[in-house]
Every structure is written in structure tokens, then in C-alpha cells.
């Protein structure tokens, strides 16, 4: 269907024609069914879904702002937070479990992993999307296929390898395996394929730029939007990762999830304290979410269409 655009109609047939054309087109969409404004039932159900998403977090805050005795005596917490949130946060940072170190470790791992994934994935994605070399097709298929390999099952040998490298208990043991991912490569290939015009690359090459310079000054800047999203997702995945860090880092150099596990197994099980720990582990990502939630949504939706 190649109907003239509304601005075109406006130009040629005048404002009122454009208005009616706009209405007409909307009308067509309405007849399609799913573009009608939904009724209150939809809002109600979605509202309940959101309540379900938020409630466990709110519950956490309620307990984290209370104290062990109050919690023990009231299985259903009072819906208004108590006043001890700050005290509990201070207490959990002063507790035997070194949450400062854990927070720092988490930040180091997440930042290093994200930076590395973005760099190497963009590099590979650029190569797959824009350079021609023998075996490109099959290799790309191979990359995609590896996404289905449950690498987590390799923990036993991976542990042995890390042990041989002397990296057990070292943050490198967690950073190293996640330095570049199949998903990242695939994602950047997809993006650069459509977003980076050949003309730019050619121009750089004609100017005598080396291959890497071309990548650095042309492809990398062009990849920025997709790279930001990739960084975001990698950061979240790294921040929430538990299985491998709990095995290889143990409790000597814990990341936040590992520290949370320690809090739970506490000598006195102080629920208010545990929940304060949860709050601490969750806040950074909630902040990221508030700032970049829109991008996250867009990222998931783009990934879905293409993947």
C-alpha cells in the first residue's frame, strides 16, 4: 500500500483534507481491533501485574525498616515502613560480612565485564557485518549456535582450570569467562549490519586508515547506541550472577549475591539485617533501571525482533 503521506496530502490538498485523511487512517487501524483504546479491565489486570512486580520489593523495604522482634511477632508486616531502615543499612555495613568489599567487587566485575564484552563484541560484530573473509557465514552460524550451549555445565573443569591458573578466589576468575559472549557478537553484528554504511568505511580506507583505525574511528562510534544497550544487559547479568562466583570466589572475595548468601546463613538470623542487605544489593540496579529502563525495554524488544 503506497498511500501518499499526510504531509504530502496537506501540501497538495490542504489542511482539512489532511485532517480527514489522518482520521480515516486511524479509523482503519481501529477496525483492525488491537489499536482501540483498551477498557478498564486491561488497566486493572496490568495494574495487578505491576503490583505483583513491586510488592516483593516493597515487602523487602518494610522488613528492612523494622527490627527482628517486630518481624517475629508480625508475620504480616505493617504496610507502613518503620523508621529503622537507615539504622539497619548502617548495621549491615558494619556487620561481620564485608559488604563494602562485596559492593566494590561487584562493581569491578560488572564494569570490567561490560567494557570487555562491548569492545570484543563490537570488534567481532564489525568483522562479521562489514568485512568479507572466507568462512564468514559458517563462523557466524557457529557463534549463534554456541548460544544454546549450556556452558554453566562446564563448572567442574572450569574450576580445575582456574585452580591451575591460581585464580580461585580472584575476581579475574569471574571476569575472564564472561569477557565476550555469543549474544554480544550476534547483537553487534545485527546492529552494525544495518547501521553502518559501507561508504563511511570505504572513505576511511581510501584515506589510508588501517583496518583497526577504521574500526576505531568509524565503526566504534557508529555502534554506540547498541553498545550502550549491550553494556546495560551485561552489567545486569553480571551483577545478578551467583552460581559461578559462589563456587570460584567463595566467601573470601565475595560479590554482592555471594555476600547475601552469607548474610542469610548468619549466626543470629536477623531478618531486618538480611533484608537491609537485599536492599543494598538491589538499589544500584533499581537506579540503573530508573535511568535506563526505557532503553532496557527497547533493547529487549529489539533483541526479540531480530533474534
Amino acid at each position: 500500500m503506497s498511500a501518499p503521506s499526510i504531509p504530502f496530502i496537506e501540501q497538495t490538498a490542504g489542511k482539512s483534507a489532511a485532517r480527514s485523511a489522518r482520521r480515516r487512517r486511524k479509523g482503519v487501524a481501529l477496525a483492525g481491533g488491537s489499536d482501540r483504546r483498551p477498557g478498564w479491565v486491561t488497566y486493572l489486570v496490568l495494574g495487578l501485574v505491576i503490583v505483583g512486580s513491586v510488592f516483593p520489593l516493597y515487602f523487602t523495604v518494610l522488613l528492612a525498616s523494622s527490627d527482628a522482634q517486630t518481624i517475629a511477632q508480625n508475620p504480616i508486616p505493617s504496610p507502613i515502613p518503620g523508621g529503622q531502615l537507615w539504622d539497619n543499612l548502617v548495621r549491615v555495613y558494619q556487620s561481620d560480612i564485608d559488604l563494602w568489599q562485596a559492593t566494590l567487587n561487584s562493581i569491578i566485575v560488572a564494569v570490567a565485564t561490560s567494557a570487555s564484552v562491548v569492545f570484543f563484541s563490537t570488534l567481532a560484530g564489525y568483522s562479521f557485518a562489514k568485512l568479507r573473509f572466507k568462512g564468514r557465514g559458517p563462523l557466524l552460524v557457529f557463534v549463534i549456535a554456541t548460544m544454546a550451549v549450556p556452558t554453566q555445565l562446564g563448572v567442574v573443569p572450569l574450576f580445575i582450570v582456574m585452580k591451575e591458573l591460581g585464580l580461585v578466589g580472584n575476581l579475574m576468575a569471574v571476569i575472564l569467562p564472561g569477557m565476550v559472549t555469543a549474544f554480544g557478537v550476534f547483537w553487534m553484528t545485527q546492529y552494525l549490519d544495518s547501521a553502518l554504511p559501507y561508504e563511511l568505511i570505504e572513505a576511511a580506507r581510501v584515506d589510508g586508515a588501517s583496518m583497526f583505525r577504521t574500526f576505531w574511528s568509524i565503526a566504534l562510534p557508529a555502534a554506540r547506541p547498541a553498545a550502550a544497550m549491550l553494556a546495560l544487559f551485561t552489567f545486569i547479568a553480571s551483577w545478578t550472577n551467583f552460581f559461578w562466583p559462589s563456587i570460584v570466589l567463595g566467601t573470601q572475595t565475595p560479590t554482592l549475591p555471594v555476600a547475601l548468601q552469607l548474610l542469610q546463613a548468619g549466626f543470629f538470623k536477623d531478618i531486618a539485617l538480611i533484608m537491609a542487605g537485599v536492599v543494598i544489593s538491589v538499589i544500584p540496579l533499581i537506579l540503573v533501571f530508573l535511568v535506563a529502563g526505557r532503553q532496557l525495554v527497547a533493547g529487549i524488544m529489539q533483541g526479540a525482533v531480530k533474534g
Binding site: G33, S34, V149, T151, L153, L285, V297
Partner: protein, 342 residues
């Protein structure tokens, strides 16, 4: 030089180039051009070989040896580790739990995600708010989710049983009993991933050509019928994608059951011990990496079987026939309408 670049689609007819003079710089340049593409993709392949492929294969090697966590490699024992593991009631309990938790998390999750996606697909006010709202749990670490939920699901001191008690319902043994513990753990998984998957479905729904619905509406199909006749079949590839990824993740579930109580052994009757939990127990508590590796291989096998099974089932559920028939019908209707309009 531009020859090394894949030509822009449908453009760039071959150009005549002046004959080249080969100098050192150019040799270097040609080498650069030839090798760079491989150099750029090599980090992925090298890393995958080291931390993905090699460990997986090496798992096989470890699994046929006696291999203690502390003492290291021992004798070759053939399939002894496998037969030991397969002879353990705990392995089968773990298998049962893993499958049960997997089903309880993936089936309701996919259904809920589809419904939520359909609602998000409507012409909502404040679209971004709703989309972000359903995605919120995704940023909460599974460990944190598990801590919060295990408190809510505590058998005697938990909120959920207290609420049920107020409604006159007997307390449920969320930790004591098999199925309730699975439901509790599945609810953690669902909490975190339903919104995420809903967004994936939403994206796929938005890619469905609107004229299909238009035609169906003209044919008098209700919205529910449209959902089943058009939306679901058109989402087939996405559903396969979502289900397979959730299978790979779901069968390896560890964080949530590990954190469901303070001991992390999956309960007194191992009522919620999953296979990965069992793997950890064998390897790092009983310190037998050989047996742990055997479990890893068995789990790997299981995942492959399930991936294939899922693929087949998903194909059948939203069968290709159904989709093409509906789609064809709809397309025909549109064409007919266009023709008559002309």
C-alpha cells in the same frame, strides 16, 4: 582495497581500478586486510574454546576418572561415576524436582507473558510506564528474590501462610512438602522473568502485519479468536526462542533452590533439590569432582533432549498448517477488499 568489503546490497557495481604497484606498505596493508577480520572475531572463538567448549569436553574426561576436589585426578574408572550417580535415589529426586520446577515455572510463565503482552499490545496510555513496570523484577538478582520469597513462604512465620490463615485456609507446607516447595521456587522464577518474556512477545506481536487482524475483523472473528488464530501462530518462532532459552536456563536452576533455606541442600527429603544443586553437593561438599562431572554430563543430555522435545511440541501446538491457513485466508480477504475498493 574496497574489494575486501562486502558490497552494499544492490549497489556498488564493480569498478575499474588502476593497476597496483606493490610496495612494503601495501604488503603490510594487504596483510592487514586479510588477517584483521579473523583477528577481530578471534577473541570470541578463543574464549569460547577455553571457557565453553574445552570445559564441556573436559567434563567428559573428568567424569570417567576418580577425581577428588582436594586430591586431584585419580584412576580411570570408566563409567563407574555414571552408574553410581544413576543408582542414587537423590539423583532421581533431583531430576523429578528439576522437571517439576521447570514445568511450574515455564508453562504458566509463557501463558502469563502472552496475556500480558497482548494487553501491552493494546493502545495503552502511558505505554512506557506499563512496559517498565512489568520489567522491574528483571533487575533484582535471583539470590535477592529467593531471600525475600523464602521469608514470605516460611512455613510458620511467613506472610503467605498468615494471610491464608486469616482467610481460614490451613497453612501450606511451603518448605515441608514437595509440590508447595516447587510452587514457591517456580514463583521466584516467574516473578523475575514473566515481564521480560512478555516484552519479547510484545515485540513479536507488533511485528505482525495489522492487516491480518483487519481482515479477520471483517470476517467477524472475535478478538479472542483472533488471538488464537492469528497472534499465537504468528508468534511461533518467538515462542520457540523463548521456550528454548527458558529450558536451557530452567533445567540448570540453582540460585533459587540454593537460597530457599539456610542449609542449601534442598530440604530434608531433598524435596526441592535440583540437579545443579546435587552437582554442587557432590563436587564441593562431598568433594568428588568425578561424580559431579558425571552429573553435569547427564544434565547436558537432558537439556538437549528437552530442547528437541520443546521444539517439536511448540511446532505442533502452533502448527504451521493452522497459521498458513489463517494467514492465507486473511491475505485473501484483504486482496478481495482492495480489489472491490478499486
Amino acid at each position: 582495497m574496497a574489494t575486501q568489503l562486502a558490497p552494499t546490497r544492490g549497489a556498488a557495481p564493480s569498478r575499474q581500478r588502476p593497476p597496483r604497484k606493490i610496495g612494503f606498505r601495501q604488503t603490510l596493508g594487504r596483510w592487514d586486510v586479510k588477517v584483521s577480520p579473523y583477528l577481530y572475531i578471534s577473541p570470541f572463538f578463543i574464549l569460547f574454546a577455553i571457557v565453553g567448549l574445552f570445559p564441556l569436553l573436559y567434563t567428559g574426561y573428568v567424569s570417567v576418572h576418580e577425581w577428588s576436589l582436594l586430591g586431584g585426578k585419580g584412576d580411570y574408572v570408566g563409567f563407574e561415576n555414571f552408574s553410581f550417580v544413576l543408582g542414587q535415589p537423590n539423583f532421581w529426586t533431583g531430576l523429578r524436582n528439576t522437571l517439576s520446577i521447570f514445568l511450574l515455572s515455564s508453562v504458566p510463565q509463557v501463558i502469563a507473558a502472552l496475556i500480558i503482552a497482548a494487553m501491552l499490545d493494546a493502545n495503552l496510555r502511558a505505554k512506557t510506564f506499563w512496559r517498565m513496570g512489568v520489567l522491574l523484577p528483571y533487575v533484582v538478582a535471583p539470590v535477592a528474590v529467593a531471600l525475600v520469597f523464602s521469608k514470605m513462604f516460611a512455613d510458620e512465620s511467613g506472610m503467605i501462610n498468615a494471610v491464608l490463615g486469616n482467610l481460614g485456609i490451613d497453612p501450606i507446607g511451603w518448605h515441608k512438602d514437595v509440590l508447595p516447595s516447587h510452587i514457591a521456587i517456580a514463583s521466584m522464577v516467574n516473578f523475575r522473568w514473566t515481564g521480560y518474556n512478555a516484552l519479547i512477545f510484545l515485540a513479536a506481536m507488533q511485528a505482525i502485519p495489522r492487516d491480518l487482524y483487519e481482515a479477520a475483523t471483517l470476517d467477524g472473528a472475535s478478538r479472542v479468536r483472533q488471538f488464537f488464530a492469528i497472534t499465537i501462530p504468528m508468534l511461533r518462532p518467538t515462542m520457540i526462542f523463548v521456550i528454548i532459552t527458558s529450558t536451557i536456563g530452567g533445567l540448570q536452576i540453582y540460585d533459587e533452590p540454593r537460597m530457599y533455606d539456610q542449609l542449601g541442600q534442598g530440604g530434608n527429603s531433598r524435596q526441592w533439590m535440583t540437579i545443579t544443586l546435587y552437582l554442587y553437593e557432590l563436587g564441593w561438599r562431598q568433594r568428588d569432582l568425578g561424580r559431579a562431572a558425571a552429573v553435569a554430563w547427564l544434565l547436558f543430555l537432558l537439556i538437549i533432549i528437552f530442547a528437541i522435545l520443546n521444539f517439536a511440541i511448540t511446532r505442533r501446538i502452533s502448527s504451521a498448517d493452522d497459521m498458513t491457513r489463517t494467514a492465507k485466508k486473511a491475505r485473501k480477504a484483504i486482496k478481495a477488499r482492495e480489489r472491490s475498493a478499486r
